[in-house]
């Protein structure tokens, strides 16, 4: 081998120029065709796939969800009190946090970096503008504009599907009324007190809103944090939290929707008059018919669909607020990847916002459809919604469902008048947590 390696003569000769040019043309043609190719499922809905330069594919091969949860675990560890002021000041200096607007200002009261990251602001720290639409978060405007042909522009020349972002009703899924709970799942509920339906665990109390006999918690299931109290307002499909009396929705898996609406024969609580006042304040009509209540992305004549994307940097205040007075009718939780959503990544990874884990809050405001979509990232994979105690994001130990599928909860029972969760402008909705 050594002698062959040393003694075999090397002959160099030029490749024909025409062949090289032809090769380049073929490569370019294939690339353009592949870029324009849209994969669709059996229902004709676009299937989103990872597209971008090699760096993106390398990142896609990393276990980002596991890294995110590890990051969250590390940042939930309690820090010694003596380390907290110096550590948080260093973080604030690196990422540009304003420590004077926090509540509380005493850094020793934040047990971990996760606590500090999810800090609150003092009352009055963020004055609310007299405008119909205000910013839901501190951050940077990445992009905004009009939605045309159902496509949202991520960067100039690159778009993603609005349907992929917000989800669409799939064949086989029914509306959230008049749906019977599957017999197979009822058996599991009876046996275990908790049901594991297609990978989602439901508390029987939350699921049906009825009193179930106490039984031991099955191994591998979660323990409910609150018991359903017996109150005059208890209704099927409604779980009222004992501490803050916030109604939580009934979760439903794609195609296995469960009635969470208030039956017509249930007497309406005293909240009705309050909700009617809120509706009037929002310029909405209470007791809309069912067709009008459903969020629809078909715009009225004279209207258009708009979008705006706001990026929250690591040093920003990470709770988000309602950008307008509106009613959230449903939420869709998409379990996906957890790529970074930094502007660098936004420029490189196509379909970034429809690949990542996100929660789409869908509803209506005075001009029609309104949707708000918090999108998770590697460092902040956990999304909290204050009025939705059942929502769990960035959960491990289960194989993530295919991209584009979602679990849905309806908030029809939250307000008998507005048939959804009413939110006032600048009201705190939830936030992003580390990991």
């Amino acid at each position: 081998l050594l002698s062959t390696w040393r003694e075999t003569p090397t002959q160099w000769y030029p490749l024909p120029v025409a062949l090289g040019a032809l090769l380049l043309i073929v490569i370019q043609y294939r690339r353009r065709v592949l870029e324009k190719e849209v994969h669709v499922d059996e229902g004709g809905h676009e299937v989103v796939r990872l597209k971008g330069p090699w760096t993106v594919h390398v990142l896609g091969a990393l276990p980002l969800r596991n890294l995110s949860r590890l990051w969250g675990y590390l940042n939930s560890l309690e820090l010694p009190i003596w380390l907290r002021p110096a550590g948080f000041r260093l973080y604030a200096w690196i990422f540009g946090c304003n420590l004077s607007e926090m509540d509380p200002e005493d850094l020793t009261q934040y047990a971990s970096l996760g606590d500090f990251f999810y800090r609150k602001l003092k009352n009055g720290a963020r004055p609310v503008a007299d405008s119909i639409l205000v910013s839901p978060a501190d951050g940077k405007i990445l992009h905004f504009g009009t939605i045309r042909n159902g496509r949202v522009e991520q960067i100039k020349g690159s778009t993603y599907s609005l349907d992929a972002l917000l989800g669409v009703e799939r064949p086989g899924s029914s509306q959230p009324t008049d749906v019977e709970f599957p017999k197979r799942d009822m058996d599991e509920v009876n046996d275990r007190h908790f049901a594991d339906i297609n990978g989602i665990e439901y508390s029987l109390h939350q699921l049906l809103g009825t009193h179930a006999p106490p039984s031991p918690t099955a191994s591998g299931t979660t323990t409910p944090t609150h018991e359903t109290p017996s109150t005059p307002n208890s209704q099927p499909g409604v779980h009222r939290d004992m501490e803050d009396n916030v109604p939580t929705p009934v979760a439903r898996k794609h195609g296995e929707q469960i009635d969470a609406s208030v039956p017509s024969d249930v007497s309406l609580p005293e909240q009705v008059s309050h909700d009617a006042e809120v509706a009037a304040e929002m310029g909405m009509r209470p007791f809309l018919d069912r067709a009008q209540r459903r969020p629809s992305m078909s715009v009225k004549p004279g209207n258009a669909l708009y979008f705006v994307v706001i990026y929250l940097a690591p040093g920003d205040y990470h709770r988000f607020h309602s950008p307008a007075a509106w009613v959230v009718e449903k939420r869709r939780h998409f379990v996906g990847d957890l790529f970074s959503v930094s502007p660098w990544m936004v420029r490189r990874l196509e379909n970034l916002f429809v690949l990542n884990e996100r929660v789409a809050l869908l509803g209506r405001w005075r001009y029609g459809f309104f949707g708000m979509v918090p999108v998770g990232a590697t460092n902040v994979g956990s999304i909290k919604i204050n009025f939705d105690q059942a929502l769990r994001t960035n959960v491990g130990s289960r194989k993530p469902p295919p991209t584009g599928t979602f679990t849905e909860a309806v908030y029809a029972a939250a307000s008998p008048v507005l048939r959804g969760q009413p939110l006032t402008k600048a009201q705190e909705i939830g936030g992003f947590c580390l990991g």
Partner: protein, 32 residues
């Protein structure tokens, strides 16, 4: 993390922000 807003509004709706602009909770995004 990122927040995407998608909404229907009259065609005379105008954004009050620019791309790349820093913004805080409660500041105006746009108006009719």
């Amino acid at each position: 993390s990122t927040i995407v807003l998608v909404f229907e509004a009259p065609k005379d709706f105008e954004f009050a922000v620019n791309t790349g602009q820093k913004i805080k909770v409660g500041e105006a995004l746009g108006d009719v």
